[in-house]
């Protein structure tokens, strides 16, 4: 029972956090798809993508960003995302699973 409650709680937290990401991106007019495709263009494989994104979310700098300078100036405050590492990893996994190319080509 405890396990079920824990999973429910974690799931709820993840959905909540993901919604918050979507909401924020929507408000700023930054397409999650666009940033995903840009990151994919640079990092390629899944592991590489996730590691790089995790690192970027923790230490966002101009040099580690995949977006161009103009985009960064216009949109990004370059502040670290304040969530736990575990939740951030889960968010990145969610991001990959929802936007990945593999399995979505016909």
């Amino acid at each position: 029972m405890v396990k079920i409650i824990l999973i429910f709680f974690i799931s709820f937290t993840l959905v909540d956090a993901a919604n918050s990401c979507i909401e924020c991106h929507r408000k700023k007019g930054i397409s999650l798809r666009k940033t995903f495709m840009q990151a994919l263009l640079v990092y390629g494989g899944e592991k590489n993508f996730k590691t790089a994104l995790f690192y970027y979310c923790k230490n966002p700098t101009k040099s580690s960003s995949v977006m161009d300078e103009e985009f960064i100036k216009k949109y990004l405050p370059l502040k670290p995302i304040k969530v736990s590492d575990e939740l951030l990893k889960k968010l990145i996994n969610w991001y990959w699973d929802n936007y990945k190319i593999e399995g979505n080509l016909k």
């Binding site: 190319i101 593999e102 979505n104 080509l105 016909k106």
Partner: protein, 372 residues
């Protein structure tokens, strides 16, 4: 001839391999050039799809080729390839039915690092290469064969003429030698029966030995020259009688060289031509006498399995043993002869399926065994 054939075959095979390699390289280059162009085209399409995904999500296809994209972790993103064999370490390779070309993308469109292009192999081109190899290889082989035959004839002609001359000379000599030998033999017999010549008995004996030697040579030459022209008459003979008769014939020679003769003869009945068998026996005994040392020994053995003549003579070099049956081949010039004796032995043995074995030690002696 067989060595020459082997050599030209090797040369043609080597040239064929070089030709095949050169053409394969050319073919590979043609494939690579074409597939490189197709890769550039496909990369452009991937780029376009990357920028328009997910509005457009149909993987770009082309009827000229199949393709696949893999990420940098070698994970397949999408594939229309027919081949199962994917090699990330090779830029170009062939599978059973396809040629595959791989490109590494500098920008990972759709997350792809590797792009594979696959086109069906043009087996007609390969078939044409093999066709050319077989066609030109056969022509070259036949030309070289004809050239070889021509050159062989050119070089062998002088040898053939020499042998022809020798054969003609022997034929003429053989024809002329018969009458004088008969006259000498008849006169020797007359002298031996005459009392007036008892004091000259020793000299007459020497003349008889010389005459018999001549007679033996005459018979050999006659057989050699006329071999194949006369039909042989095979009949059943007791070989022991013939051997004893031939030993008797050579008795004077044996005595003149003071040879110690040991014989062990059993009755053996064989169906043979008497003239041919006499030549075989005569030649073996004659050689054992001729190439023996004075006071040496001769052993003659006959049984149901073989006939053997052993001597304590000069022997034959081991390296020459395989050539002793060749016609006109002589290894010792100290004694006269044409070098046809053992060739006659060989010929007769082959005719009746006998096996001739020669064991010889230089300066110790020779053993010639004819196995029935």
């Amino acid at each position: 001839m067989s060595i020459y054939l082997l050599l030209i075959s090797l040369v043609i095979i080597s040239i064929s391999i070089i030709y095949y390699r050169a053409n394969s390289d050319r073919l590979e280059l043609q494939y690579k050039t074409l597939m490189q162009e197709l890769s550039v085209l496909q990369i452009k399409r991937l780029k376009w799809l990357h920028n328009h995904f997910p509005k457009y999500n149909k993987y770009p296809r082309d009827e000229r080729f199949n393709s696949a994209i893999y990420d940098l972790e070698y994970k397949e993103i999408f594939s229309t390839l027919k081949s199962n064999r994917i090699d990330f370490n090779k830029n170009f390779y062939f599978t059973k039915n396809y040629a595959i070309y791989s490109t590494i993308l500098s920008d990972y469109y759709l997350g792809a690092k590797y792009l594979f292009i696959e086109i069906p192999k043009n087996s007609q081109l390969e078939y044409r290469i093999f066709q050319n190899i077989i066609l030109y290889g056969t022509i070259a082989f036949l030309l070289l064969l004809l050239l070889g035959i021509y050159l062989a004839k050119l070089f062998i002609q002088p040898m053939q003429r020499s042998i022809e001359l020798l054969d003609n000379f022997i034929k003429d000599t053989t024809h002329e030698i018969n009458t004088p030998i008969s006259i000498i033999n008849t006169n020797i017999e007359m002298l031996q029966s005459s009392d007036a010549c008892k004091s000259q008995a020793k000299r007459i004996k020497r003349i008889e030995i010389a005459s018999r030697t001549l007679e033996t040579i005459y018979k050999d030459l006659k057989l050699s020259v006329l071999s194949g022209k006369n039909e042989s008459r095979d009949e059943k003979y007791d070989i022991k009688e013939i051997v004893e008769e031939r030993i008797e014939y050579f008795q004077l020679h044996i005595e003149s060289k003071r040879l110690n003769l040991k014989k062990s003869l059993e009755s053996v009945v064989l169906k043979v031509d008497r003239v041919l068998l006499e030549r075989l026996i005569d030649n073996l005994i004659s050689n054992a006498i001729k190439y023996n040392r004075v006071g040496g020994s001769i052993e003659i053995e006959l049984n149901r399995n073989y006939f053997v003549v052993r001597d304590s003579g000069i022997g034959i070099e081991k390296s020459n043993l395989d050539k002793i049956f060749e016609r006109y081949r002589r290894f010792n010039e100290s004694e006269g002869g044409f070098g046809i004796g053992l060739s006659i032995v060989d010929k007769v043995a082959k005719r009746y399926g006998f096996r001739v074995e020669v064991i010889s030690d230089k300066e110790k002696g020779t053993e010639v065994k004819v196995k029935w």
